[in-house]
Amino acid sequence: MSESLDVNRTAKLFIGGKFPRSESARSFEVHDQEGNFLANASLASRKDGRDAVVAARSAFSAWSSATAYNRGQVMYRVAEIMQGRRDQFIAEVSAWSSIEEATIEVDAAINRWVWYAGWTDKLSMVTGSNNPVAEPFFNFSIPEPTGVVAGFALSDSPLLGLVEMIAAAIVSGNTVVVVASDRTPLPAVSLAEVIATSDVPGGVVNILTGYAKEIAPWLASHMDVNGIDLSGIGDSELAVELERSSAQNLKRVLRPNTHLDGLSRVKMWLETKTVWHPRGY
């Protein structure tokens, strides 16, 4: 019986469809809930955050103008690839929970992608309208993505919470920069690998590992970020500071502990555009 040494994965960042190490060349140790060493994860810097925003902005035009059918298929593809790596995700998530809990979370995460994939071509129907104005105009309102959304993931739902955050934003054409929980980042690294192999265009989803308190202020004050999801910001003082700083360019802010999910969360990152046109010849 020959023993083969494990080839350990280097946990890297995911920016613009590529897997760079942090430009700062730093990393941090990730431990399971018993304190056992699991890996060194890349420790993203503010500059990595900046690069991720640039990547997200570059990807926005194409992703937001892709057909809803196309976005739906791409998101469904993420579910397919995740399904194939189900055991790996369960193993990773169970570093901080029981196998049973991890199984539930991973299956729920996969199902979440499927659920969101089906939403892409229904959002406009459900959140749009044709408005019967009192003059001879054809008038309609349609949802459009806000732009680049930055988000900070919850640590106690390392996969499902992250999927919810990402999917709720990209389903309508937003692009995202998410910072995984510093306690539980490894499922996020694997999710990045899934996304990279799922036809999701580079830059649509950018995943950083590191400390929210280090990167978040830069993303909150970033003038080219349009929305900010503070769900994973447990420190309430930091959350207030980030919300204040987000006011600089009137970012749409999802406060912590708001517990929005599903369509309400999707709507956080939607703009309503109303178009008027006269009728007549």
Binding site: N131, V133, A134, A247, W276
Partner: protein
């Protein structure tokens, strides 16, 4: 033979302007604790009345009244709430001339606009939301839509009563109670509206109106007893509000500034485009957040278009806002006039070419002649900053892509205009513009069924239609 329009002033006898106005709290007019300030007619600088300056205590009293009223109002059946709103809509129609004249007196905008645009839209807005009050579960906000509580609302001076209706109608329909602070320079129609609430027998405390300056607004927005902030005004103040509510549970909607591009392609219906451009920037003296203040004209038709535009702008009649033939009224305040002048001078200094309509300005009051700057570059201040006055900045473009790029090159994203006879171009350009309202072959159209609000630094949330209910309801999963 000549044919010159004689003076046609609207009579002011329909309005009784009182010497003093007090806050409207808990269904009654009551004195404030911080003295008074004067409100004037900006077209003549004549004193109109003294108005209460709202203090923190006044705001506190109003919020308490609204909180007290919330219990019953939110528990009332939607159909009963709706009937109150229908009543209000009807009384507004009954007293429309009075409201129009008072609005013109206090704001300086032409009676033609208050009579034909502002007041009819106010009534329509209440009428629309009245019908929503008992149909909230059909609004698509979840199965059990619930009101938020007390809404603190701060509105601007450019459409005083119309902005009041945009705020109060959806709030009440959804079951909230409100404390509203009208703009410092235009409080009078809001206080007449308070009388209308009394005539409608609206339960005390459902609508409270506290007058005052910016500090009153600040006290309201920062009050811990409110659950919702709705603000229309400048981006600068919007930013401060967004900061002030950080860490609270207050739900916020902000309708802020704009610098809309009005894009005219060479195949536009020219005469209608001219009207749209004129209406886009000179309607309400350009005191419009969604004004088409940047004109983007395709180079191939620039000369012809500008020639027609200058000729048309020279026909605008500036003067007494009460005259039924006046197109351009007064600037709302000395402060606003100073700001318009300052930015216009910046236009000169940045190297743009100024053209001014040939009209005489009255000796008294605050006035600014319709002004067009050409040879404006994207880098000029007048191409980037909101002037909020009758000043148009003209730029050119060569291709649709260039037009879109220039139009979107702004921190604002409230509105935009497109003029072309080609349908496919309209749809493509409309979808590429990062703006909340896109007017194609028209401009500055408003309707209670039509959502209004901006992208980017123009704010968030929508007012009008089904979308306009969402900011006043708890939305769950």
């Amino acid at each position: 033979m000549t044919f010159e329009y004689a003076d046609a002033p609207e009579s002011t006898s329909v309005v009784t302007v009182k010497s003093n106005y007090r806050h409207f709290i808990n269904g009654e007019f009551s004195a404030g604790t911080a003295g008074e300030f004067a409100t004037i007619n900006p077209a003549t600088e004549e004193h109109l009345a003294h108005v209460a300056q709202g203090s923190t205590q006044d705001v506190d009293r109003a919020v308490s009244a609204a909180r007290e009223a919330f219990t019953k109002w939110s528990a009332m059946s939607g159909s009963e709430r709706g009937k109150y709103l229908f009543r209000i809509a009807r009384i507004i129609q009954e007293r429309s001339r009075e409201l129009a004249v008072l609005e013109t007196l206090n704001n300086g905008k032409p009676i033609r606009e208050t009579r034909d645009v502002d007041i009819p839209l106010v009534a329509a807005h209440f009428f629309h939301y009245a019908g929503w009050a008992d149909k909230l579960e059909y609004a698509g906000m979840g199965p059990n839509p619930a009101p938020l509580g007390v809404a603190g609302q701060v509105i601007p001076w450019n459409f005083p009563l119309l902005m009041l209706s945009w705020k109060i109608a959806p709030a009440l329909a959804a079951g909230n109670t409100v404390v509203l602070k009208p703009a410092e320079t235009t409080p009078l129609t809001a206080l007449l509206f308070a009388e209308i609430c009394q005539q409608a027998d609206l339960p005390p405390g459902v609508v409270n109106i506290v007058t005052g300056d910016g500090s009153t607004g600040k006290a309201l927005i920062e009050h811990s007893g409110i659950d919702k902030v709705a603000f229309t005004g400048s981006t600068e103040v919007g930013r401060q509000i967004a900061q002030a509510v950080a860490g609270t549970h207050k739900k916020v909607t902000l309708e802020l500034g704009g610098k809309a591009a009005n894009i005219v392609f060479d195949d536009a219906p020219v005469d209608q485009a001219i009207e749209g451009v004129v209406n886009g920037i000179f309607f309400n003296q350009g005191h419009v957040c969604c004004a088409g203040s940047r004109l983007l004209v395709q180079e191939s038709m620039y000369d012809n278009f500008m020639e027609l535009l200058y000729a048309r702008v020279n026909t605008l009649r500036l003067g007494n806002p009460l005259d039924k033939n006046t197109d351009i009224g007064a600037i709302n305040s000395a402060a606003q006039l100073a700001k318009i002048k300052e930015l216009s001078i910046a236009g000169d200094e940045d190297g743009a070419t100024r053209w001014t309509a040939t009209c005489e300005l009255p000796a008294k009051g605050f006035w600014f002649a319709p002004t067009i700057f050409t040879e404006v570059s994207q880098s000029h201040r007048i191409a980037r900053e909101e002037i909020f006055g009758p000043v148009l900045s003209v730029m050119t473009f060569r291709t649709p892509d260039e037009a879109i790029e220039k139009a979107n090159n702004s921190p604002f994203g409230l509105s935009a205009g497109i003029w072309t006879e080609k349908g496919s171009r309209i749809l493509q350009v409309a979808s590429s513009l990062r703006a909340g309202v896109v007017w194609a072959n028209t401009f500055n159209k408003f309707d209670p069924t039509s959502p209004f609000g901006g992208y980017k630094e123009s704010g968030y949330g929508r007012e009008g239609g089904r979308h306009g209910l969402e900011p006043y309801l708890k939305v769950g999963a």
